[in-house]
Symmetry: C2
Subunit: 319 residues, 2 copies
């Protein structure tokens, strides 16, 4: 049978592990600094090439990440991993750079409601704070990427129109930002929306690199990732063991689990450079360490490749 | 911004509720007949148009469904629902027809290993038993549909090649069967595989109606459904509250939850005729009745449309 129809997907994808930031910050119980570092070091053994290591926010805002400097300083020997940190303001950026971070991620919401809730300022006010961060970064030869939280749907305002995202991306472009992470922070995106929004954004901003940060709150994260792959997107965030819950839906699934994303990508023939079996072992370890997971199919069912012993009556096949 | 890229999807889809068969049969604790009937009647209020009501297997094989006749006879007044039943052999078909079933579904595995495990016969032997069932059905004016279990992957044999499925579909065609359910029985399919297999099958068998029966064992069910939609497939099975676990992975997710599928379809603008809020209420009811769910995002997080009260500092927006 001839090959009539193909789902054209990229051959390779880069996965950024965000559990050390997005996963840990959602944990109410203190994770000791040495345990955070141990987990990061275990993750580094899986072949993962990129990690969002922490957030330089005020310690009162997110006490769990008050050890940001200590964590960053302790992993400087892991030179095969690109580490980035989230920064809310120029003070956070200075702390990150002083600690040795070479890539900053700017924080921004798509809606004023979420921005007020998350950062206590309007979207416009947050944007106005970017220039000094970018200047500081340039001075130190540090890269800066943008992000847009609740880019597809806002828990307060509902669906986010494409025009709003396009306006924000346009302003990022004006500021010289070359990559933007589109975050489905509370799992409200659907694959049709993702496919169409990315199609429009890529057409309007052909120089911009878009990455996807997907939460699985409503079970749509993987289908959204596939829709993004179909648009040629090759950069994805995910979190080991699915850590990183949704503050608006207690008990709901968090970020798409790194092991689930890597498994699905491998099944589709997309290379991530990550060893799935090692990754699943780390996910088990992390689940035991943290005391729970945030929704992980691999931890429940294992990979497709793990076949079962054939039933005993198989001799019939040979008849 | 002009509409440059569209994900072309069908405007309508038909969902067949399979919990009364695939969900209930996986429950070790006896579900009283009157409770089964009550749940079916609740489901009938959601706007669902199609249901797989039971399986006429030998009571010793699946004791949970030994009340098949009683269940089927008690719901004959629900004339707005198309009920179908699974039949493993001509004896089961006779029982189903006697009870008032007007649509039979044939049982078949893609691999000999699964066939032996599930039906204690080879694929070829199972196929040889279809003719008397089809003759009996024709005599009574009853429809017959085909099915292929483990159509994408087999827990014993791994990936199932397209050629094998094409051969089976071809034999169904020869027997006059006009619709075939492709079942990812243990959640091993991936969206690229689904898209490409359906593309080939549709090209080779343009007269055949294919439907998708997806399990979410490894979190890929919705992405597989979207891949099928992209190939124009409009018939999907699903199970309320995600009931129907995987015997090979205890505790793993079951069938894709009807409420998750209806929610995702609604978000993408695909009409199912099902009222999502009523459906979620039934899912809650079923979970309480059965004592657990089989993986349901709607039961954890609720639909996207359920927005949250804006934070108190919203007056800043008005400034």
């Amino acid at each position: 049978m001839s090959r009539l129809v193909e789902m054209a997907l990229p051959q390779k994808a880069t996965i950024c592990e965000v559990a050390p930031r997005d996963g840990f910050q959602a944990e109410p119980a203190w994770i000791p600094t040495e345990e955070k570092i141990r987990i990061v070091r275990e993750l580094a053994k899986t072949g993962i090439q990129s990690m969002e290591i922490t957030s330089f926010v005020h310690p009162r805002a997110i006490p769990q990440l008050k050890d940001a400097e200590e964590v960053v300083r302790s992993i400087q020997d892991l030179t095969n991993i690109k580490f980035r940190a989230l920064v809310p303001n120029v003070k956070g950026a200075q702390r990150a750079i002083d600690a040795g971070i070479t890539k900053l991620k700017l924080m921004l919401s798509a809606t004023d409601s979420h921005s007020l809730s998350n950062a206590n300022c309007l979207v416009e006010e947050a944007q106005n704070g970017f220039s000094p961060i970018i200047e500081l970064a340039e001075k130190h030869g540090v890269k800066v990427g943008g992000s847009i939280s609740v880019a597809f749907g806002c828990p307060y305002e509902g669906k986010v129109p494409l025009e709003r995202i396009a306006t924000i991306v346009d302003r990022y472009t004006t500021m010289g930002i070359e990559e933007v992470s589109l975050a489905d922070t509370t799992g409200m995106a659907n694959p049709k929306q993702v496919f169409e929004m990315l199609g429009q954004l890529k057409a309007s901003f052909p120089q911009m690199t878009f990455s996807m940060h997907l939460h699985n709150t409503r079970g749509m994260a993987l289908s959204n990732a596939v829709a993004a792959l179909q648009q040629g997107i090759t950069h994805f965030d995910s979190s080991i063991a699915g850590l990183g819950g949704c503050p608006y839906a207690p008990g709901a699934s968090g970020n798409i689990a790194t092991e689930d994303l890597v498994h699905a990508f491998a099944e589709m023939g997309i290379e991530t450079g990550i060893n799935l079996n090692t990754l699943i072992d780390v996910a088990k370890d992390v689940k035991q360490s943290i005391g729970h997971d945030g929704g992980s199919y691999m931890l429940q069912a294992g990979p497709c490749s793990q076949l079962h012993a054939k039933p005993k009556n198989q001799e019939k096949i040979e008849q």
